[in-house]
Amino acid sequence: MEKVFSSFDEAVSDIFDGAVIMVSGFGGTGGTAQNLIVALRDHGASNLTIISNTAGLASLMGFGTLPGHTAVDCGILIDNDQVGKLIASYPVSPSPSRINSFETHFRKGKIALELVPQGTLAERIRAGGAGIPAFFTPTGVGTELSEGKEVREFDGRSYIMETALKADFALIKAHKADTLGNLSYRGTSQNFGAVMVRSSGISIVEVDEIVSPGEIESHLINTPALFVDRIVER
């Protein structure tokens, strides 16, 4: 099965209106599939649900972005009115005086938000790829983010139930892929990508370099090939 795609546009061409899409990245440019995001913007699929740590901090304020570089992140999909719902832990600008496009759209009622603590978000995504439909966590107990959720006690401590997240597609950035789809990442850029790649129907991975099997040493492979459906080189 051929996993290597020759263009970013081709790799996202079957993303449909209303799709649920996971977008990797912590908030900066590292670990963000910038070219796949541009391709999805140009493709134009609408009413998307985006699962992402942030609504785009790199494009808003240069978060984790190299000096002099222009950042692209899922903020451009929101700018382009393609997003109907966002599931995120850090959706707005840290400064109320510098509002991002998500907040503008949210206040106009054009986009829905499911706010999730960052660790719960990561674990819900992990669970989605691991065959675990729900789990109990102490995070959020006694706060407004636990409203409506089942509470159980284990060993005298309260926990709330959180459900798994899955997606139709994931747009992931990794460092290297081999042609089988094995991936390696650099530094802190595994973040959400290395988890999202496991829980999406079709994972689409943008890499700095595609190499032959064996060129990534087996013990340095972070994501085994079975999680990877499509790879495109930058």
Binding site: F63, G64, S89, Q118, A122, V141
Partner: protein, 220 residues
């Protein structure tokens, strides 16, 4: 008018709480300064939810790498012995009780140690980020903040009126005028900034403070 401690001195006081061998996660703002003031001879391993353990100094200008950041988006210098992991592991470490100390900023801390630090009700929307996970998961939660808000309102309060990050999680509060520990019977005033007495600190604090038997000037 009594002098208030600058942010660096708050960080310096918090840094004294960090013990040799501690795994520590520092939040945004004043907490992020603490690593500069750890007393000599103590080895601390810093954890960041961006997916790194044992990071050191920030990268020099011109040496930045966008695959090497902390949770504040600052560029890190490559450091021998640093390790990387994905977000589910980063938070498994936090929730799983593997972080000894987290130092967080706060909007409000209550008499019972309840913490509010993620949303201003006046804005109506906020970033929860990793704050709730850190507040429930770290073995010890230290708050480092200014004692009063911008409008002069108390931030050490009887009950948090802002959305909660977690109930009963804070064990120590270090501010620009005092060091306060959260005890079973209430807040214990342990140290005050130079020149400040119990009454002076009490005027800026909503709940009643219990003076420690050995109440003293802040030690750095």
């Amino acid at each position: 008018m009594l002098d208030r401690l600058p942010r660096e001195v708050i960080a310096m006081r918090v840094a004294r709480e960090l013990k040799d061998g501690d795994i520590v996660n520092l939040g945004l703002g004043i907490p992020s300064l603490c690593s500069q003031y750890v007393p000599e001879g103590r080895t601390i391993l810093y954890h960041s939810e961006s997916g790194v353990l044992n990071y050191g100094p920030m990268a020099e200008q011109g040496e930045e790498d966008d695959d090497l950041i902390n949770a504040s988006g600052q560029f890190l210098e490559p450091t021998p012995g640093m390790s990387f992991f994905h977000s589910a592991d980063a938070f498994g470490m936090i929730r799983g009780g593997h972080i000894d100390v987290t130092v967080l900023g706060a909007l409000q801390v209550s008499e019972k140690g309840d913490l509010s630090n993620w949303m201003l009700p006046s804005r109506g929307i906020g970033n929860v980020g990793g704050a709730m996970d850190l507040a429930v998961g770290a073995k010890r939660v230290i708050v480092a903040m200014e004692h009063k808000g911008r409008e002069g309102e108390p931030k050490v309060v009887s009950e948090c009126t802002f959305p909660l990050t977690s109930p009963t999680c804070v064990s120590l509060i270090v501010t620009d005028i005092a060091v306060i520990s959260v005890g079973q019977k209430g807040l214990i005033l342990k140290e005050t900034a130079p020149g400040w007495g119990l009454e002076d600190v009490q005027k800026e604090t909503e709940p009643e403070l219990i003076p420690a038997d050995d109440l003293k000037e802040i030690e750095l």
